[in-house]
């Protein structure tokens, strides 16, 4: 997917002005925040499991070479062909190659962020494959030709009327405002595709190294359809999805559904290992696993490693007041919200992703809900510091900071400045307010009042009230 993170400011302005998007976002995020809180309250062991999940992920990342090698060996033992893509272009090439090699003309696909990231669909389509998205939300936005706006609820920005018009236009179905009817329509169309498709494409929520297994966590059941019925299964996953053991999976099953939607467990959990065994009535004859690096090994060696623990719950998005205001599209790439504000600049480059780490008040709500204890605000602060080190900051800001530090280096200078400004404000400020602030600071006074500095700062008044004593200097 082409990044447009650089235009976050403009994207966010448009998002704030879009009433449909606004109500859709607040409906989704509000509900998920409440249901998450309720399900966490109902599970007394949650904090301990969260800690364990964080520890397992850290253990894995610390020995990723070992666990990756193990995963590949175990998967291949059980009939999988494992492919490795260094970057997006390679991933596309490999996927297209697999499709051609297997003679695929129709593929059904379930949710995969990394497939979005590397734009897998376009390569498959170029190789003559019709790719049908089977998650209901993804199916809808595929028909609409749009990218997903939320990790867990990709069509959150669409109303039922919009969906029905889409089905009318693209599927020839009669208009209806009944949501169950809309779901039935989608189910009918997709079922035919599941049965006819030569290949099912899935992501992977977790990859278990000791058994070479792929774990899928879904509510709709489309992931199961696509990985049981077609002859070929292509699983696409970024390398940090690995966990050491199948036995570790329950820890993450306790964390992921609760953190994402407040469910105790998602409706379907599938653990897929190898190909169809002799005598199995269903199952793929061929299993291709495409592991994607695309910049993650670079992250692994640095101070941002912890972002690779992310299990894509969406909890940080739902609780973030910035995300709640602007939605996912504004972030301009596959990964939105707090985790996206860290991951995007790391994968697409700090220059392209520069606005994202700054579009946060560092309130810390995200870190509180992250199921694997990623210290998101800390990582955002590091990125801001890196921007300064790499000369990516606005020169006015740097100059302003230098001036600020210079003034603050001596109390005498500060007090003198305060006195001057105080006097000026006596003259120019009415009712104790500053009428406007200069330069970028006008962003405040456009909509909010700003207090006038007092004629005598505290330090002066203190001296007056208490007199100057030796220890007060």
């Amino acid at each position: 997917m082409e990044p447009r993170a650089r235009s976050f400011y403009r994207n966010s302005e448009k998002a704030l002005a879009n009433a449909t998007l606004q109500s859709a976002i607040s409906r989704t995020t509000g509900k998920f925040v409440r249901t998450r809180a309720a399900s966490v309250d109902a599970f007394p062991g949650f904090e301990a499991v969260r800690h364990e999940g964080s520890r397992i992920k850290e253990e894995t990342l610390g020995r990723l070479d070992h666990y990756l090698a193990l995963f590949i060996a175990e998967a291949e033992k059980r009939g999988a062909a494992v492919h490795v893509a260094r970057d997006a272009a390679e991933a596309r090439e490999i996927a297209a190659g697999i499709a051609r090699q297997e003679g695929i003309t129709l593929a059904v696909k379930s949710k995969s962020m990394v497939a979005e990231e590397v734009d897998l669909n376009s390569a498959l389509e170029a190789a003559g494959v019709e790719v049908v998205e089977s998650d209901l939300g993804e199916f809808i936005i595929q028909l609409a030709g749009e990218p997903p706006s939320h990790l867990i609820a990709p069509a959150v920005h669409k109303t039922r009327e919009q969906v029905s018009r889409l089905f009318e236009q693209k599927l020839g179905e009669p208009y209806t405002e009944q949501i169950p009817e809309l779901v039935r329509i989608a189910r009918k169309h997709l079922r035919a595709k599941f049965l006819a498709a030569g290949m099912g494409i899935s992501g992977a929520n977790f990859l278990c190294a000791d058994t070479g297994s792929i774990a899928l966590v879904t509510n709709e059941g489309n992931g199961r359809m696509g990985t049981i019925l077609p002859r070929v299964h292509l699983a696409v996953a970024s390398i940090e999805k690995i966990i050491p053991r199948l036995a570790d999976l329950p820890v993450f099953l306790h964390l992921l559904p609760r953190s994402a939607t407040g469910q105790v467990i998602s409706t379907y959990v599938s653990v897929l290992t190898g190909t169809k065994r002799p005598g199995d009535p269903e199952g793929p004859e061929k299993l291709h696993i495409l592991l994607v690096d695309n910049g993650r090994t670079a992250i692994l060696q640095g101070k941002y490693r912890e972002i690779l623990k992310c299990i894509r719950s969406g909890a940080c998005l739902n609780i973030c007041p910035v995300y709640q205001s602007v939605g996912g599209h504004a972030y301009g790439w596959t990964y939105p919200g707090p985790m996206g504000s860290v991951l995007t600049p790391l994968l697409v480059g700090l220059a392209e992703g520069a606005p994202l780490p700054n579009a946060s008040t560092l309130c810390g709500a995200c870190a509180e809900v992250c199921p694997v204890e990623i210290p998101l605000p800390r990582l955002l602060l590091e990125l801001r510091s890196d921007e300064r080190d790499q000369g990516l900051k606005n020169p006015e800001e740097v100059l302003g900071m230098k001036a600020f530090a210079a003034v603050m280096s001596r109390a005498g200078i500060l007090e003198a400045l305060e006195r001057v400004i105080g006097v000026l404000c006596q003259i120019f400020c009415k009712e104790g307010k500053v009428p406007w602030l200069p330069l970028k600071f006008s962003g405040w006074t456009d909509k909010r009042d700003f207090p006038a500095p007092v004629p005598q700062p505290f330090r002066r008044l203190w001296k007056k009230q208490r007199g100057i004593r030796p220890w007060n200097r």
């Binding site: 910035v322 008040t361 810390g364 970028k440 909010r448 007092v454 330090r459 008044l461 007056k464």
Partner: protein, 250 residues
């Protein structure tokens, strides 16, 4: 009856109180002295450096942190009416000096002695009733740094509830960020304003004519929007409520 020895406290009044709200500084001193603190005010203090640190300008932040650590060198407590400044010193100064072992230990030691006002009153001075004459229906905003940075949520509430003239009402999502975030408020003003609108909606729903908090930045943001829109709410700093009537020279 033996007198308890006065507890030495150095006041970090903050650049915002200095420039805009001196009465917050006086209120802080008044309530500290009421409970046995001997308050010194090192007048060479300036800024804790968080505007620079939070925006990624660590070089400048370090400069200001060095100055802070030298001004507040010593053994007594450092108390400030600002959750964000206290969090800066306790949580971030060590990060700033991670490559300088000498400064790092100074930072760690200073951090241990640093407290936000309500935290200090309750945890160190053992105050259960601030003995304040303040009257009014009040709702409390949990500022992000005080709540998540320092883990302080109960101390301000305990103190407010103990004041006979004060009725404390909780707002929905009292810990929802108000949208200030320092430079964020002018870098992304449209998002900041949207966030403060969401906050004010929750304040208005309580019917309280007063909103209070332990951070001046939050109060300037919330208060600035309230004032522009003309809502019947006043933003008052926690220190002023805890102090009650305080003499401020003019």
């Amino acid at each position: 009856m033996a007198q308890k020895p006065p507890i030495p406290v150095s006041l970090f009044f903050t650049c915002l109180a200095d420039t805009f709200f001196p009465r917050v500084g006086f209120a802080t001193v008044a309530v500290l002295e009421r409970f046995g603190a001997e308050v010194r005010v090192p007048l060479s203090q300036t800024c804790c450096g968080q505007p620079a640190f939070n925006s990624g300008n660590r070089k400048e932040a370090r400069k200001m942190a060095r100055k802070f650590l030298s001004v507040f060198a010593g053994n007594g407590y450092i108390v400030t009416p600002s959750g964000s400044c206290a969090a800066m010193v306790k949580n971030e100064y060590p990060a700033l000096f991670r490559d300088e072992p000498g400064m790092l230990s100074l930072a760690l030691l200073a951090g241990e002695r640093t407290y936000e006002l309500s935290q200090f009153l309750v945890e160190v001075l053992g105050v259960t009733d601030p003995l304040s004459s303040f009257r009014g229906k009040v709702t409390y905003h949990d500022s992000c740094h005080l709540r998540r940075g320092l883990g302080v949520t109960e101390a301000p509430r305990k103190l407010l509830r103990a004041i006979p003239g004060v009725t404390l009402v909780e707002m929905e999502e009292s810990d929802r960020c108000c949208g200030f975030g320092g430079i964020f408020s002018v870098k992304y003003p449209h998002i900041s304003c949207r966030m403060v609108d969401d906050k004010i909606e929750r304040i208005l729903a309580t019917g309280a004519p007063i909103v209070t908090s332990g951070d001046i930045g939050c109060l300037m943001n919330i208060g600035g929007m309230i004032s522009r829109c003309g809502y019947p709410v006043q933003a008052v700093h926690l220190a002023e409520i805890l102090a009650g009537d305080v003499e401020v020279p003019d």
